[in-house]
Symmetry: none
Subunit: 191 residues, 4 copies
DNA sequence: AATTAATCGAGACGGTACGTCGGGTCTTATG
DNA sequence: CATAAGACCCGACGTACCGTCTCGATTAATT
């Protein structure tokens, strides 16, 4: 396909990178468009050509780092979930991860979710589903229990989130505790 | 002790009321100290005599509405928890409730939690504990299972929260589903 | 000489035309290079290939319309000058004429006058001189009085200009009044 | 009269002073509101509380320096006018004087003249009139000739202005030449 | 009754960031 | 080569809000 006429757009990634660095360095309230522009070696107009306002830029920047949670295949459902919970806590504790969360919270009331939101959610969903599917393949879960997977994962995510909101650490022991709770919603369904 | 000399302070409640109305009317980003002052018929100095900054005012305003979740005593643990989940969703959907959440999220990274936070948490904890205790008294839960109450409630809260963050409705059916999951973390512990 | 290789230059006049229209339409503060380029169906590069900056373009555009004041030969010095004053007022009231004036004022402080300036001045001077010369030829002026022609014309120009700056109309009566004054600087010199 | 409530306004003069200095230092195109604010040790809001936009500020700043031309009473009409012409040239050559002129030219096309304009004009008019009146009192001018005073002064101002626009110096000799011309418009009216 | 002192409504202030705009430069693909 | 298109860097504009400040006016407890 033909490139359009005129000077081609520069690199978005470069700017998003700078935005994330700026966010990490100064936090949410110190996040400044001028700061981003300066750090990226770019004029403000270049930012406004790409994003309609500051929030959109931040949302997009954060999205690039939110592709998904690292999934592991340990061969055991309990171990997989525990690792997932730990990774999740780690991810949410990083600036980018926490920013994702903040933006999600901010925009729940808005008319429509930010464009990147579904993308992030899909990433999480994919990772989570593959864990469950592997467990079913291994015979750790019945097909019936699998139907409760989404709920179980919502509980797991929510549990980790509540720990963070309570400023309680999410160490391995804690993660296992949560996972055991979540597993209990799947295991006993035997009838 | 005796009142100090000089003109006595006016009414805080009146201002907090105005702050909440302002928050509800314009949302988080439109929440302005000038706006609050105007709506309350008050000068900005009156605000800064009481709260050190904007966030504190909002936090305090929100706290007045966050005294706690309505607790019911239906005679059944499952019913109590289901109602709790529903009430929680309703509460978080109101401006004040959602503001509480936003503030909580905002300030997790801060050095110390806002003053009202522990108060709010205590409210929730008290409500939740009484539900569990009644269940134990009725024999629905073993004392051992009771030890897992806090975890179970964290899962319940987290589950409801994740539903809201996903923009999925929390109707009665959904609440029951979550509660059943949470109960599964308590019930099977029978040894 | 041979034309150089490559695509030949387009038409300058076309651009100057657009510039003048733009100036007339939006005034001095709304005069924009992007606007000129758009109106002329031309890229900004084409502008900068021809003029070093915005002011030069405007100056040049204006110069094309400032070739000179319409001179008439009525057979009488007084009548010639009156018509000159009226034409001058009319010319200065048009966008192009007024722009010439603005640019002149703007650049008095500059290191060197804009290129077109001398051209414009020469136009005026030529017109004015021919009026005076005809008057001498007719015997209306002595050769001695002719030496005061430049000063007289400066007074005439200045008088008209001051009327405009005072927002006072320059109708025929007013023009005659000015001319009579100016003529008085020439006529009585008889010794 | 009662002072209004609230913190009283600061000093306008101080800001106008800074504006003039800024104008003098960087010229018309380098005249920046941020620059003025910084130099005055003032926030931009303070500027916009007083003037609706940049041009108004500049106009006002300039007006403070344009109270009038120094008038002298030398005892002779010719001498008075010569000094007036010289002073006028000097005044217009200063940054503030020239700015006045620029603004006048800029706003001739505007709907209504800037507020300060009439003030400035009145200053000039007063000075000029008193010169003429003294001449009448001394018998240098007839009462009839006095009626042509305004026109004569317009010619004088215009003559000086045209000299400046032509980048020609206005030294004493030149001023006398102009004055002689202008006087010629008054003197011969004897019938 | 007069004094004292904290609080009040009002609003101007210094500062900082926003989102917009325009100038002048550059980098493409097309004639 | 010179274009038309248009993205780019820069920096000023005018707006909004924060948190501070300075007023004159209130309002009690203390003299």
């Amino acid at each position: 396909m033909a490139r359009s006429i005129g000077r081609p757009r520069g690199d978005d990634e470069h700017i998003l990178e700078a935005a994330l660095l700026e966010y990490g360095a100064h936090g949410a309230s110190g996040f400044t468009l001028n700061g981003v522009a300066r750090r990226a070696g770019v004029g403000k107009s270049a930012l406004y050509l790409r994003w309609p306002d500051k929030d959109s830029l931040l949302a997009d920047a954060v999205a690039t780092r939110s592709a998904g949670i690292e999934a592991v295949d340990s061969g055991s459902l309990r171990e997989d979930l525990t690792t997932l919970a730990t990774n999740l806590a780690t991810y949410w504790r990083e600036p980018a991860g926490w920013a994702t969360l903040r933006i999600t919270v901010d925009q729940v009331g808005a008319a429509e979710p930010p464009a990147f939101h579904q993308h992030v959610i899909d990433g999480h969903r994919t990772t989570a589903r593959s864990i469950v599917e592997r467990a079913v393949a291994r015979g750790e879960l019945t097909a019936h229990a699998q139907g409760h997977g989404p709920l179980a994962l919502q509980l797991l995510y929510g549990g980790v989130l509540m720990r963070l909101l309570s400023r309680e650490p999410v160490d391995r022991a804690c993660a296992e505790q949560i996972v055991d709770g979540v597993l209990a919603t799947l295991a006993p369904i035997t009838d």
